[in-house]
Amino acid sequence: MEPFSKIRSVATPLDKVNVDTDQIVPKQFLKLVQKTGFGQYLFYDWRYGTDGAPRKDFVLNDPAFRGSKILLAGNNFGCGSSREHAVWALLDFGFRAVISTSFADIFYNNCFKNGILPVRVDEKTLRMLFENRSEVEIDLEAQTVTSGEISAHFEIESHWKKVLLEGLDDIAATLRHGEEISRYENLHKDCDPRAS
């Protein structure tokens, strides 16, 4: 996983609330067996018309935001299905951070597992970011979002911060606790299912 420290880019404004993962990557594209190549399907049903042509009124098709690494979105972003494909699609498209007031729990976790930073800011800051079209800088070490006159601090769980800053493989880290896991297993054998 690519470590994350500081990014600076224009922010793509997706001013909608309760964006669910079915919209981020629609179900017909969940059949791939790899993690790559999902960027082309990001927000597919909003991004393309029924004839397959890009819809001019959708923000991802606006040349002004080409190459953007930051997505701005309304509250409760990523609700619904647990599909990590949603995060793979954001990452593959080029996003490294999403800024909103709140995220659904499973989506929030999935972000960190793939090197995407979900940034929680208050409603007022979010509105200001939507209105302000200058570049946005996110500094993970300092936990700040800045853009023009706007400067806001954001909270992040310390372990997730470390995971992103260092690009850690958490399975390798957990496997170092093999002894503790085995000890737990030995104490709880009664719970195991019948082998039939």
């Binding site: 179900k27 059949k31 599909r83 976790n109 957990t174």
Partner: protein, 471 residues
């Protein structure tokens, strides 16, 4: 110290406590399906890792499987690829698989309880957000992403930030429990707390109106916890729970001893405090019908399609979302719900595809015919449910009325298999999500209970099933 049920289960599964609210939890049961697992198994292969506890891992295929004739080859090549990948992965890593032709195949959240894989007091995860279903048994069960599927396969553990506790108190007595169902209770809760209302929490459903529910009805409630934003929802186990499970195949050897322990311990202590509380009285709730593109956009069947401002309650973002939802759904504000006509009816999904759901829906259908121009289908949740229903002759009831009677799977809940809506088609669906495009691009979903779906199939539009005299 007094503890909630959630806290007891959490604490008994902590392998390591980091001291900052984050713990490494042991996973007692890991359920796996074809859509969210291929990349996880690939990760294991690339890193030369094995599945730590294949005996605690159970796989089935449900999302992609066609629900028509199983003896035919799968037409969709990419679906076929995912199904074959799961077969290969299970055989390579020694994981038990209930495959396409297994008599135990079914929707992962239907077969878990059915086979006794789900047990009280356990932790259960699956790469599927509706894993919350298993909370009906007093198990801490929640959905995870594919990276965590890989983590659990490799370590049998998962890192979790401890969620807050959220008591959902459900009080009172429904006047006609055959017409006002568990689905209506849950939709009533979601429309009041919102789709993000439970973010960061675990629900515990309590109160008389929960105790009186059957296990299958409790599963319907817990299933949709995620639609209220909570990853998990619990109901404390009771005699109904133990009776439901007794004799099922994969229960632990010492099940009877464990029941003694569960009976004493798996409940919230009298004076334990929850971080948050919400109370609903069910005496007067009506059958529910969703009108929009998330499950909180729901009204009583006796109501009308709301005006966006009325729905939004002063939140500009919600008002805009409601406008867009009405446009997508092709509905005008002020239209009575009972004047909305449907093209399709889907009875199925991990929310409402169990035997009781089919028994209740059949009562509405018996001796009647599906309205002209409506295509209706019943998709049992598992092969077991299908056989039980057929033993009761329910397949005949549905087929005689003009319903299609299908093989088990997720089917039209999420349109990853051939069962999808065409653009613009309107569907009364017993599933859990009415998101845009969920049942097919451009498809319009109205979430309802099985009896409401069945009644819509017969009438061709929504009707208040309380008027049907169901018993």
């Amino acid at each position: 110290m007094a503890k909630t049920l959630f806290e007891k289960i959490w604490e008994s599964h902590v392998v390591l406590d980091e001291g900052n609210g984050r713990s490494l939890l042991y996973v007692d049961r890991h359920l796996v399906h074809e859509v969210t697992s291929p990349q996880a198994f690939d990760g294991l292969r690339m890193n030369h890792r094995r599945v730590r506890r294949p005996d605690l891992t159970f796989a089935t295929m449900d999302h992609n499987v066609p629900t028509d004739n199983r003896s035919l080859p799968i037409v969709d090549q990419t679906s076929g690829m995912q199904i074959r990948a799961l077969e290969r992965n299970c055989s390579e890593f020694g994981v038990r698989l209930f495959g396409m032709d297994s008599p135990d195949q079914g929707i992962v959240h239907v077969i878990g309880p059915e086979l006794g894989i789900t047990i009280p007091g356990s932790t259960i995860v699956c790469g599927d957000s509706h894993t919350s279903t298993h909370g009906a048994f007093g198990a801490l069960a929640f959905g995870i992403g594919t990276s965590d599927v890989e983590h659990v396969l490799a370590t049998q553990c998962i890192w979790m930030d401890k969620p807050e506790t959220f008591e959902i108190r459900v009080e009172g007595r429904r006047r006609n429990p055959h017409a006002v169902t568990a689905k209506d209770i849950m939709l009533s809760i979601i429309r009041r707390i919102g789709t993000g209302g439970g973010t960061g929490t675990t629900f515990e459903y309590r109160g008389d109106a929960i105790s009186e529910l059957s296990m299958e009805q409790r599963m319907t409630i817990c299933n949709m916890s995620i639609e209220g934003g909570a990853r998990a929802g619990l109901v404390a186990p009771d005699e109904k729970t133990f009776d439901y499970l007794r004799g099922r195949r994969y229960l632990p050897e010492k099940f009877d001893d464990m029941v003694e322990y569960w009976r004493e311990n798996l409940k919230t202590d009298g004076n334990a405090a929850f971080d948050r509380c919400f109370t609903i009285h069910v005496d007067d709730i009506a059958p529910q019908v969703s009108w929009g593109t998330n499950p909180a956009m729901t009204v009583d069947v006796t109501g009308r399609v709301p005006f966006p401002s009325e729905y939004a309650g002063g939140f500009p973002g919600e008002e805009k979302a409601a406008e867009k939802a009405l446009q997508y759904m092709g509905l005008k504000p002020g239209t009575p719900i009972t004047e909305i006509h449907v093209d399709r009816v889907f009875i199925g999904s991990c929310t409402n595809s169990r035997l009781e759901d089919l028994v209740e829906a059949a009562k509405v259908v018996r001796g009647r015919k599906v309205s002209q121009g409506v295509r209706a289908m019943v998709v049992p949740g598992s092969q077991h449910v299908k056989r039980q229903a057929e033993d009761l002759g329910l397949d005949r009831v549905f087929k005689d009325a003009g319903f299609e009677w299908r093989e088990s799977g997720c089917s039209m809940c999420l349109g990853m298999n051939p069962d999808i809506l065409a653009s613009g088609e309107r569907c009364a669906s017993t599933s859990n999500r009415n998101f845009e495009g969920r049942q097919g691009t451009g498809g319009r979903t109205h979430l309802v209970s099985p009896v409401m779906a069945a009644a819509a199939a017969i009438a061709g539009h929504f009707v208040d099933v309380r008027e049907m005299g169901l018993t």
